[in-house]
Amino acid sequence: MTVLRPMDEAQLVEAVAGALARKAPLELVGAGTKRAIGRPAQTGDRLDLSGLAGISLYEPAELVLTAGAGTQLAEIEAALAAQGQCLGFAPPDYARLLGAEPGNQTLGGVVAANLAGSARLTAGAARDHVLGFRAVSGRGEAFKSGGRVVKNVTGYDLSKLLCGSWGTLAALSEITVKVLPRTEAETTLLLHGLDAEAAVAAMSRALGSPLGVVAAAWLPEALTSGDSVTALRLEGLEASVEFRAAALAALFAPVPQSRIAAAFWRGIGNAEPLATETRSLVWKISVPPAAGPAVLAAFPEGKGFLDWGGGLVWLALPPTPDASAGRLRAIVARSGGHATLIRAPAEIRAAVAVFEPPGGALAALTNRVKHGFDPETILNPGRLYAGM
């Protein structure tokens, strides 16, 4: 196996063009923390993008930052924190869930996987924060899209296309993101003892109120040290947060309540409540919020929790050869949504569709898009879908 580690875009072009000429597929890697997600790589050579690193532009007053795709996220978050800013989508780190070393992912990895923490509900995912990029497609050609301003409809929004494409369309070399000021204060109200149905009803009520709830999650008794908890997060000016917390508390009286520190949310975003279930397979399921409890209820043999107001289901299941994929996806199909097998041994990921397989005309369209950017299937072949 050859590892190619380009240090600039010209070298990246060379690496991909060379692979194209040899028809030698590449596995794209940043820090490698998400290598265990997706179908196992069907490649000989590795394209290591960690050399394309460094923050090249950061203008706090313009709320914009540009960095090499291989830049460590921790470096970016530290630079932002020094100016009282942050990434609005609060990218999670699944390392602990996947048994890897946390704190080691790259900006490109977060974007290629379109990650988002609990703030997804109100602030969006990586897709909503990437303003532009430079990349090298499977044609071995460098191209760019977008820009460095938020308001931009010049040409197709290819940033969206690359977010969540898992390195199957192009190798990102540089990414521009919008950044946000950190909020001055925050608090999280916990409602105790609600079951999943009641929790989703409470979260919907909170999110439908004008109290500015930015994140809402539910943990069952089995994943806490006491009661089940429904967590509602507020952010903003201190006086406003206190006022709204009181209003929210009044809204849910007499349900038993308490407050918890912000660190709670990092754990939720990182799916850490399931990290200790080391033998289980872990699914990440996106559904309309009302459908979350039904997904959990259908798997009494599993353990799971809800984020995104009920719309994100994290589910750990006992290992089975088919990962219960058929049963799970049939349930998800009833409400609409999609299920991704985030953690499973390689042999299961090779046998089961890790990402929700598109059907019919959408599958054909997906193939044509892939073919347009990577006609010889040299970038992460098979990682998203078998044969693509």
Partner: protein, 495 residues
């Protein structure tokens, strides 16, 4: 503006195509009569006009699908159209193309308050969504100035913004799913009432694709609870520079207002003469800052904004004391375009975005251009996100003035790109900015965009002549070029 040469064979077959469409649609849904077709000859960019070959007005997804399948099979071009409010010529008809009006698809299909989503047909107006949910305390956030008329289908095509997108995002951040018809008539769904579509984010590229990738027949949007309170602060500055500095200082202080709009002297005067909003006439720049949330938050933020304004040289500062007053502050801004229309026979509205810090420079250079071209310019500006709307005043009846206005506009947009901005912030490329695309993108960039187009519409039948300065055949774009392959960069680290 040169459009693709119309296909004479198609034009000759006009009658036969009309008959075929009448077998697919009810008789009254196919418009053949020249006078009736003339209604569709232009959109909001009225400088360009073309009589469509025919107009088809489907009233269901099945009808859209049947029309597209027929046109795909017979090589007939399609121009999708919502309310026709595009300011970039996105719905400009083609002499050899069927204009596909989606106005009959105008129903609100489902509202889910608990899940905070609404499912609507593409012909529902932007404001119509808010009207449908406001009794329950909800609204649809993106609010382009044309919201009373523009449709959600058009908003999806253009990724429309509005004054509140600084805090609440553009169309693309507020749409969860679409049902759409591909050019070959196949119906697909992207996303739904959940977050983040599985697979490639094709929903993300559909939004803002200007009618070149497919025809949207159903849209699922997020609806938001209306904030507890809203207040507007109106601040006057003796120079554009100080206004711009104040905007930067507000953002730097960590405040993201619900809206932040700026107007220059000509725009202030035009707006005040039109709606009597009570704007100060002795200032060079007027800044409107809207703050929302509970009273305690609004009060605190208002005080902070006022203090920042004073530090940055504000000469007047008024805070709305009632909802009526807040709306009157906005009335002038919202009526700025028609207000300018009253002081000039014609105006040409531009739409570049710049980094905020470049504002003063850009306005200065624009003033110099204005003198050079001998045309006045008024500026309204989504200050919070750097989106400029210079309105170039001209008279189409004076020979050569339209050309001059267009040249002036192009120069402004090139300037936007030069300072790190983009050609269009929210109006779209359309036909208007099509030939300026090379100012931002090289051939490789554009070829990659067009390959996406080829995946959706390989025959270039959907809205051709828009967005791309030249159409390249998909077969040619699909070819793989091997560039060398042997090591040209021996220094590339290999392990």
């Amino acid at each position: 503006m040169k459009m693709p040469t119309p296909d004479a064979a198609i034009i000759q077959r006009r009658r036969a195509i009309a008959e075929a469409l009448r077998r697919i649609l009810p008789l009254e849904s196919v418009i053949d009569d020249e006078d009736e077709r003339r209604v569709y000859e232009s959109d909001g960019l009225t400088a360009y006009r073309e009589l469509p070959l025919l107009v088809a007005l489907p009233s269901s997804t099945a009808e859209v699908s049947a029309v597209l399948a027929y046109c795909n099979e017979h090589g007939v071009k399609i121009v999708p159209r919502g309310a026709g409010t595009s300011l970039s010529g996105g719905a400009l008809p083609l002499a050899d193309g069927v204009t596909l009006g989606l106005a009959k698809l105008n129903r609100v299909l489902d509202i889910d308050y608990a899940g905070r989503t609404a499912v609507v047909q593409p012909g529902v107006t932007n404001l119509g969504i808010t009207r449908a949910v406001e009794a329950q305390g909800f609204y649809y956030a993106p609010d382009p100035s044309s919201q009373i008329a523009c449709t959600i289908g058009g908003n999806v095509a253009e990724n429309s913004g509005g004054v509140h997108c600084l805090k609440y995002g553009l169309t693309t951040n507020n749409v969860l799913g679409v049902e759409m018809v591909l050019m070959d008539g196949q119906v697909i769904r992207l996303g739904g009432r959940h977050l983040d579509a599985g697979g490639y984010d094709l929903l993300g590229v559909m939004v803002g694709s200007e009618g070149l990738l497919g025809v949207v027949t159903e849209v699922t949007v997020r609806i938001l609870p209306r904030p507890q309170g809203l207040r507007a602060v109106m601040i006057g500055f003796p120079s554009n520079e100080q206004g711009g500095d104040c905007v930067a200082a507000i953002i730097a202080a960590g405040i993201i207002p619900a809206g932040m709009e700026m107007m220059d002297r000509p725009a202030i005067h035009a707006a005040e003469a039109f709606v009597k909003a009570g704007y100060p006439l002795d200032v060079e720049a007027l800044l409107l800052v809207e703050l929302d949330g509970p009273e305690v938050e609004i009060a605190e933020l208002t005080a902070r904004v006022e203090a920042i304004a004073t530090e940055n040289g504000a000469v007047s500062c008024r805070i709305s004391r009632s909802e009526t007053e807040r709306l009157s502050f906005w009335a002038g801004r919202k009526a700025a375009f028609p207000a300018v229309g009253r002081i000039s026979p014609d105006y040409y509205c531009m739409d570049g975005t710049i980094p905020r810090r470049a504002l003063a420079t850009v306005l200065q250079r624009m003033a110099a251009m204005s003198r050079r071209y001998g045309l006045r310019v008024a500026n309204v500006f989504h200050a919070g996100d750097g989106n400029l709307h210079p309105l170039i005043l001209y008279d189409a009846n004076v020979p050569g003035e339209l050309d001059k206005a267009e040249a002036f506009g192009s120069e402004i947009l090139r300037l936007c790109v030069e300072v790190g901005g983009v050609l269009t912030g929210e109006h779209g490329v359309g036909v208007e900015k099509r030939d300026l695309m090379p100012a931002m993108f090289n051939d490789t960039d554009l070829d990659h965009q067009m390959r996406l187009k080829c995946a959706f519409d390989p025959q270039h039948l959907l809205n051709p002549g828009k967005v791309f300065p030249q159409l390249r055949r998909c077969a040619e774009l699909g070819r793989v070029h091997i560039h060398g392959g042997e090591t040209r960069f021996p220094e590339l680290p290999r392990f």
